[in-house]
């Protein structure tokens, strides 16, 4: 997470450099795109092979245009944040200057320490007045530091949320927690985290049409309660039990918002998978079209899940088989996408319950 010490090393000029590189690359890509569009299928050519070449060219053009669009969008975000970073850098320098002038020291974690030499006073009121003034100056510095950090997390959040999705490559980094969410979560108590997690699950359940379930946050690493990890080789983030309709979350992961958010979405997706499979097998449905498909799923997916639940593979002893079975792949994608889209407004909504 970003610290005040990090902000002392932030550099708006590097964002300007990044913007310049993106713009130069965009120009190059646009030129290549135009060449592809106008020069690679001659007008003198005719016949079936020309049609095939035009089809192939159009697929390539589509990929290039999608890439150009996402890089253009990201370059705009980088450009917009450049000015904010420049202001943050100025603010931090000004805070450090003020702190030095007022005989305070600001640590790399943002803690403010009074380093003024001790003084002697001739009266208690004078000493009290001096003490109050020092507290006021300290608090003013703390407020400025907080504002600089707020701005910095907003910059980071904008860049993370707006990052290119690498349209022509499936290896893009995904399942990333929003920096503002991470920061806010770190400042919440355990009770607040539990409440937000429950509200998050209920919100998702409402979106997915899942009713009558319970959220239980407990120690999933030590189920027998003997104080030792039941299986040190594995980490139990959470589970969905369709029999008792309980979403279980591991209390040991409650301090990590990326795990909590991803796990809740992942397990609620399992609940939705079960619901769709139950619909598929319900005698009163009769028509496959009547099934309320989970978001992004097809009827074939539901049929795959149906077979998969009949032969569900546990992570022990074959972790790879567990990892690659259809219901886990789908739930993992859903959890990662939900986490990617989850921002501080969502968290604030879930904190309100």
């Amino acid at each position: 997470m970003i610290t005040y010490g990090d902000l002392r090393r932030w550099d708006a000029a590097q964002l300007a450099t990044a913007g310049d590189v993106f713009r130069a690359d965009l120009t190059t890509l646009e030129r290549a795109r135009d060449t592809l569009e106008t020069e690679t299928v001659p007008g003198s050519w005719d016949g079936l092979s020309k049609k095939a070449a035009e089809g192939r060219r159009d697929v390539l053009l589509s990929r290039m245009n999608a890439h150009l669009e996402e890089i253009t969008d990201f370059e705009r975000i980088v450009f917009a944040q450049q000015a904010v970073v420049a202001r943050i850098v100025e603010d931090v320098a000004a805070i450090d200057t003020t702190a030095a002038q007022q005989q305070f020291e600001v640590g790399s974690t943002g803690t403010v320490t009074d380093v003024a030499p001790s003084r002697e006073f001739t009266s208690i009121p004078a000493a009290e007045q001096y003490g109050e003034e020092r507290v006021r100056l300290r608090d003013a510095l703390v407020a400025r530091i907080e504002r600089a950090l707020d701005d910095a997390f907003a910059v980071d959040s904008a860049l993370v949320q707006g990052r290119p999705s690498c349209v022509f490559n499936a290896d893009e980094p995904s399942g990333i927690v929003d920096p503002q969410v991470e920061r806010e979560w770190s400042q919440m108590s355990e009770a607040e985290r539990r409440a937000a997690a429950e509200a998050m699950a209920e919100d998702l359940a409402e979106q997915l049409g899942i009713e009558d379930f319970e959220v239980v946050i407990e120690d999933l690493e030590d189920k027998d309660g003997d104080g030792d990890d039941d299986d040190p080789d594995t980490n139990s983030y959470g589970s969905w039990n369709n029999g008792d309709r309980v979403l279980r979350l591991d209390v040991n992961d409650l301090d990590d918002p990326s795990v909590v958010i991803d796990t809740i979405a992942h397990e609620m997706r399992h609940a939705d998978q079960h619901q769709a499979v139950d619909d598929l097998n319900a005698p009163w449905f009769g028509q496959d079209e009547d099934i309320d498909l989970p978001p992004g799923a097809t009827l074939d997916d539901v049929r795959d899940w149906d077979e998969n639940f009949d032969d569900y593979i546990d992570s022990d002893p074959d972790f790879d088989a567990y990892w690659n079975q259809p219901v886990e792949v789908d739930a993992r994608d859903f959890g990662g996408d939900y986490l990617d889209d989850y921002d501080v407004d969502d968290l604030d909504e879930h904190r309100e319950g």
């Binding site: 590097q14 450099t17 590189v21 690679t40 993370v160 690498c166 022509f168």
Partner: protein, 102 residues
């Protein structure tokens, strides 16, 4: 369905696809991601920049390869067209010789 092909036009088209492939290869924005990481130490953006850069380089490289392959196919079509022209020309000459003796 008609069929027409000008070999030199096709060779030019293949060259254009090759040029596009070469241009694209250099536009992976790796330096931009490095600059973001350098400018924002401690941020999630900086943490992600390496993976983003790798993903982009892989994607751009794949696109460049596909453009090159497209160009090679165009060149092959041009070569095949010339061969067909030459073959059909030979048949035409043979037919004319049989019919006219010239």
């Amino acid at each position: 369905m008609t069929y027409a092909l000008n070999a030199s036009d096709m060779a030019r088209a293949a060259g254009a696809a090759g040029d596009a492939s070469a241009e694209v290869r250099g536009a992976d924005s790796a330096a931009a991601y490095s600059a973001l990481a350098a400018g924002l130490p401690g941020s999630t953006t900086a943490d992600l920049s390496g993976d983003l850069s790798d993903a982009m380089t892989t994607g751009i490289s794949g696109l460049s390869d596909d453009l090159a392959s497209f160009g090679e196919n165009l060149q092959r079509t041009a070569d095949d067209g010339v061969a067909i022209d030459e073959a059909s020309g030979g048949i035409f000459n043979l037919t004319r010789y049989i019919l006219t003796g010239q």
